[in-house]
């Protein structure tokens, strides 16, 4: 039975949870999100935002009681949920007596109706308390059911929500498929999923997950897996399918998705570069957007007829853009050689702002266009074909990512990559190992700037224009965030981070309004729960290669060092 101090803990957890709900309500997230249906007429995103915290808090308080009886687990979840529900219900009651709108713009009647289920503040409050209690209890139940069922339910819910959220995009996409499109149409209602559609997805995903052979838990310290020949073939086939899918992606997905992919791709490109500077070499560069801007502006100035400097093609301008950004990387690197950590961050931050302000300035207006920016930037041609649609530019971006990814991947395991990592770990000791700090730091800055310049050049060609507004501090911060979320120093992490952080706000317009709120929350949660990132860096096995792994490894070390071999 729950004793008093436990009870206190549940109630505190409930209070925090309720506070979060009130916060989400007052910033307007619940109301905005409730306009988006996931399952038509049954569940909208606002309710989901309301219920998920109850569930999580119920689950986590119950987790502390897992060693006790089933009853106390349920009580823990239930009480936490009810306390949270009660607190959340206070918001409409308070709003009924005091005009909160003077202070909080989003404390609207719609929000209150969402919170009290349209049943009036008191009855609604009771209902919300009970519902929250039940959800908290469901969270607790979730803890005790077998892992396989848990996974199945989780996957089913996640997929239903994802498909429901992407309804608009998916219907547009499906419409392009011609004859087979009618096979899928019934899944969706005018808003969100249709009820049968939702049921089908839940059942399908649930069953597939339940009966899928279980995978072994991934090692915390990721090392490349050892594969048998058969597994290797399977993996090769997977890669093949992946590549074919990647080639036809714009055709399958349509214009809007391609646009998103292009934007994500440009961020991947920048992420790969900044990952070298921050992830490999540990140099905290917050002015990274400067190189992106330089790449874009050089292509703009050299190719746009407006600027009149010259009118060369995109491909002719590209080398100049790359040289310019690499040079800028070295120039930035020189004064900051002696700086470390936060000092470096501040100086680079300033550098980024200088470049942006120069592009904005009246002084350089005749050359860079000032606030008007540069228009009519040349698009790349391949033979007679002009790359101008999102689908066509996609291939250019993919090609750039493959090149950049290859370079980053090769460098990581090279002599230079090891020097960078040594620099990141301990600068003084790295120098004491004979590493030339000047050369090593400058190459890191230059390589990072190279990738950013490439991204900038493609970005300018894609929009066929360049404005100073596109190159603000938030670009640097976004790239930094995606690296942190993906996993510092990890190349696949950059891909995952970009898809999650750059892709999701584009898919959810409601989400975009709260982008930085959500980023902040994600960063805090990531740091607490998974500081190594979503896809942490894998360390290569060097001493014992895969072929040797089949033999037993001697773990025993001789207590006295052996005599030398020679």
């Amino acid at each position: 039975m729950a004793n008093r101090s436990n009870l206190k803990n549940y109630i505190i957890a409930g209070l925090i949870n309720g506070g979060i709900i009130i916060f989400l309500g007052l910033v307007g997230m619940i109301e905005t999100f409730s306009q988006r249906d996931i399952v038509s007429g049954v569940l909208n995103l606002g309710f989901l935002l309301l219920f998920v915290p109850y569930f999580i808090f119920g689950y986590s308080t119950a987790k502390k009681e897992i060693d006790r009886s089933m009853k106390s687990v349920l009580i823990a979840g239930g009480i936490t949920g009810m306390a949270a529900g009660f607190i959340s219900a206070l918001l409409p009651i308070l709003g009924n007596f005091v005009n909160l709108r003077d202070m909080f713009m989003n404390a609207s009647p719609t929000l209150y109706t969402t919170l009290d289920f349209g049943q009036g503040i008191y009855l609604g409050g009771v209902i919300l308390t009970l519902v929250a209690g039940i959800i908290g209890m469901i969270g607790a139940v979730f803890l005790v059911i077998p892992q396989r069922i848990r996974n199945a339910i989780l996957q089913a819910v996640v997929w239903t929500v994802l498909v429901g959220l992407m309804r608009d995009l998916l219907t547009v996409m499906i419409a392009r498929w011609g004859a087979i499109s009618s096979l899928f149409k019934w899944l969706f209602a005018t808003k969100g999923l249709s009820i049968p559609g939702a049921i089908v997805i839940v059942v399908l995903v649930g069953l597939v997950t339940y009966f899928r052979p279980e995978k072994k838990k991934a090692n915390v310290q990721r090392t490349p897996k050892v594969l048998t020949k058969k597994q290797k073939n399977v993996q090769l086939m997977k890669y093949g399918v992946g590549i074919i899918l990647m080639i036809f992606l714009p055709q399958i997905l349509g214009i809007y998705f391609s646009e998103i992919l292009d934007n994500v791709g440009i961020y991947i490109l920048m992420g790969l570069g900044l990952n070298i500077v921050i992830g490999f070499a540990g140099l905290l560069d917050l002015g990274y957007v400067a190189f992106y801007a330089i790449g874009a502006y050089v292509v703009g100035v050299l190719t746009s007829p407006e600027m009149g400097a010259s009118q060369i093609t995109f491909w002719q301008a590209l080398p100049f853009a790359l040289i310019a950004s690499v040079t800028a990387g070295v120039i930035l690197g020189l004064p900051v050689l002696k700086m470390r950590g936060d000092y470096l961050a501040i100086v680079t931050l300033g550098f980024g702002e200088i470049i942006r302000l120069l592009s904005l300035s009246d002084w350089l207006r005749p050359y860079l266009g000032g606030t008007q920016g540069i228009q009519r930037i040349a698009r790349p041609f391949i033979g007679p074909l002009e790359l101008k649609t999102q689908g066509q530019l996609y291939y250019l971006i993919i090609a750039a990512i493959i090149i950049a990814g290859f370079i980053a991947y090769r460098l990581k395991d090279s002599h230079m990559g090891r020097s960078w990592m040594a620099l990141r770990e301990d600068e003084d000791v790295a120098q004491a190992m004979g590493i030339n700090l000047v050369a090593t730091k400058l190459t890191a800055f230059a390589t990072g700037a190279f990738f950013a310049g490439l991204a900038g050049a493609i970005f300018a060609a894609k929009l066929s224009s360049a404005y100073p507004q596109s190159f603000n501090l938030f670009v640097s911060i976004n790239v930094l965030c995606l690296i942190i979320v993906g996993g510092m120093g990890s190349i696949p992490g950059v891909l995952v981070g970009s898809l999650v952080l750059m892709g999701s706000p584009e898919l959810l317009r409601e989400f975009a309004e709260y982008r930085y709120l959500v980023y902040g929350a994600i960063l805090v949660i990531m740091m607490l729960v998974r500081p190594e990132g979503l896809w942490p860096e894998a360390r290569r096995k060097l001493e014992l290669h895969e072929s040797m792994d089949t033999e037993p490894i001697e773990t025993e070390t001789p207590s006295v060092p052996e005599n030398p071999a020679g």
Binding site: M416, A430, L542, P564
Partner: protein, 263 residues
Amino acid sequence: MAVLTAKNVTKRFGGLDALQKVELVVKENAIQSIIGPNGAGKTTFFNCITGFYNPEEGEIYLGDKLINGLSSDRVTRLGISRTYQNIRLFKNMTAVENILVGMHPHLKSGMLGGILRDPRTNKDEEEALNEAKRILKYVGLSGQGDMISKNLPYGAQRRLEIARALANKPKLLLLDEPTAGMNPSETQEMTNFIGQLRDSIGITILLIEHQMRVVMGISELITVLDFGQKIAEGTPAEIQKNSRVIEAYLGRGAASGISEALA
């Protein structure tokens, strides 16, 4: 033949003279020690030799080449390697990677080679890896090369740090309290290892040590520092009897007591 000659080395921090006119000659293929109470300037002296500090006065020669004033990476390239009092491995890199970084001065492949992986770079890397494995085996860490170095046990970390220093193929190896934090049996093991190191690869070793048993057991010549000054130099037997040394360690009163007891 002297490997290292320090003449008149003075290092000041503000008003504090951390080192005052310290003189030291390290002979080839010797094991020599620097001892002294806390704050005597031992580690500062190491930092001056390795280029981490630039002494205000005096000269330091490696062989006959003047090395003070050079940056620490250049000193390392000339053939001095060191370990640290508080282990300073590259914590998030594997053991082998640590050794490979230590090999830095001998690797020639550049950035382009790293990207293109031309045959020359591959050969260079392969040789480096084999050498790293050999060193790993030599210090008794075979099979643990792919461990992240921070996950290695304490004693293994100490040995790995020495392995990393050896990877530079140094003429002179500086060990800063190699047995710090070790229990008696580990200390004995490390002492034997240091002796073996010199005998087998013919390296010259200068060490800072706190534990008298280690110092007296293996060093041929001991230099004693106190408040930045050299107060004595001699064989272990001579140092043990030197009253100024006893005084520096135990204080004046105790020193006279001991001399009486010895007499």
